[in-house]
């Protein structure tokens, strides 16, 4: 098919998610299945750690990679079905959350047929360590409290501080610079502490699992 031009790996690595998916789509339409592989690799590698580590928060270690793998493949496949998915990263994480929920739901439906790894440490067949957070209900409740605490912030600049500093990769000084408008490093720490305090209050106030 005319119009498809294979790109070298270093070029693919510089493309955005949407551009990579568009490239894969064109390669597939052109029957150039081999050309899709490097683009898939860039996308999968780029999100692998974050997906697996999110899954590890709720699932046994051994299953976290399987569920993350299925999520990333499903998300990429969805892009080829013409479904509107918005930003790929958000879509990917939404799919992961669904797969984790499916996994936990299937576990509830089926009686447990195998022991937890800690119950048979000496046996050869070990399925990995247990989940980091014991109950999915607690994890969902905690995320809901986090969302509520965030939505209670009226000032858009304060929300940006939470995004950039607490939930983002920036230091307090960088965050102050990025937000500007008189924001100081000390302000960043104060906003972050206040937010976490409120988050903890919500968690303690409504958590009935303890």
């Amino acid at each position: 098919m005319a119009g498809f031009q294979e790109l070298p790996e270093h070029h693919l690595a510089s493309l955005s998610d949407d551009q990579l998916i568009d490239y894969m789509r064109r390669a597939r339409e052109a029957g150039r299945h081999d050309a899709m592989k490097p683009a898939i690799s860039v996308l999968v590698y780029g999100y692998w750690d974050t997906l697996v580590n999110r899954a590890r928060l709720k699932l046994p270690q051994a299953d976290a990679e399987d569920v993350a793998g299925e999520a990333v493949a499903s998300a990429i496949a969805s892009a080829f079905d013409g479904k509107s998915m918005g930003e790929f990263r958000s879509w990917l994480h939404t799919i992961l959350s669904r797969r984790i929920a499916d996994y936990l739901e299937s576990r509830k439906r089926k009686p447990r047929t195998t022991q937890l790894p800690s119950e048979h440490e000496r046996e050869e067949e070990v399925w990995g360590s247990e989940p980091a957070v014991e109950f999915e209900g607690d994890a969902l409740f905690a995320r809901d409290c986090l969302r509520r605490a965030y939505e209670e912030i009226d000032d858009a600049r304060h929300r940006r501080v939470v995004d950039l500093y607490l939930l983002g990769p920036h230091s307090a000084a960088e965050t102050a610079d990025l937000v500007g408008d008189g924001m100081t490093e000390a302000n960043v720490h104060q906003i972050s502490s206040r937010f976490q305090k409120r988050f903890k209050e919500l968690l303690e106030g409504g958590n009935t699992s303890e």
Partner: protein, 209 residues
């Protein structure tokens, strides 16, 4: 700085430096509400984390390489998401492949042809067996073993919609089916349309739809 804030900062640093950054050891240093708080903050942080820059050498040594292979088989093969889904369901059900195949053969009444069932199942996991040819009987039996619905398995096998036929020379996933007694059919040929006389019941279950 609270313990949660300090641990979150440590986790973010570890994540940014690469190396996987498993959250478990960080969570193990807290308990109760603070543990839940830290887990939710790490979860939210990871959800916002940008795509990691590609590193070809690190990729080759990473489990992501196998996942990329499976995703490629999904897009280039003829069995949709089965290359990713089937191994995951098997692992989740804690069933070894040999045991799954034995049970599948038994459920299909094909105990004496376990080897053939094993080959077909392998092709399903590899994305090389056209999903459209696999019968409901097989999917129902498989679904009962791994705890997954027949219809959901069928849907997964059909996703995404087929793309262009492979054009590269020597394409690995050129819609082939296993050579099991009968001649290999033409690529993309509907299995039921030209059923070779050599096909037995197991062939029909896996290839005739």
């Amino acid at each position: 700085m609270s313990d949660v804030e300090r641990l979150l900062a440590e986790y973010k640093r570890a994540h940014q430096e690469g190396g996987g950054a498993d959250p478990s050891p960080f969570l193990a240093r807290t308990s109760g509400v603070e543990r839940e708080q830290l887990a939710a903050l790490i979860d939210a942080y990871l959800e916002q984390a940008p795509r990691r820059a590609f590193d070809a050498a690190a990729f080759r040594d990473s489990p992501a390489a196998a996942v990329a292979d499976s995703a490629h088989r999904t897009l280039a093969g003829s069995a949709g998401l089965w290359p990713v889904l089937l191994p995951r369901l098997r692992n989740q059900a804690r069933i070894r492949r040999a045991d799954l195949v034995a049970e599948l053969a038994a459920r299909l009444g094909a105990q004496s042809q376990q080897e053939k069932v094993a080959t077909y199942y392998h092709e399903m996991e590899q994305g090389r067996l056209p999903a459209s040819g696999v019968s409901d009987t097989v999917l129902e039996a498989l679904g009962k073993i791994v705890g997954y619905g027949k219809d959901a398995l069928r849907s997964a096998g059909q996703m995404p919609a087929p793309g262009g036929a492979a054009r590269e020379a020597g394409a690995v996933y050129a819609r082939t089916t296993p050579r099991l007694g009968g001649p290999a059919p033409e690529a993309e040929a509907p299995a039921a349309a030209a059923e070779p006389e050599e096909w037995d019941e197991v062939d029909r279950l896996f290839r005739a739809g």
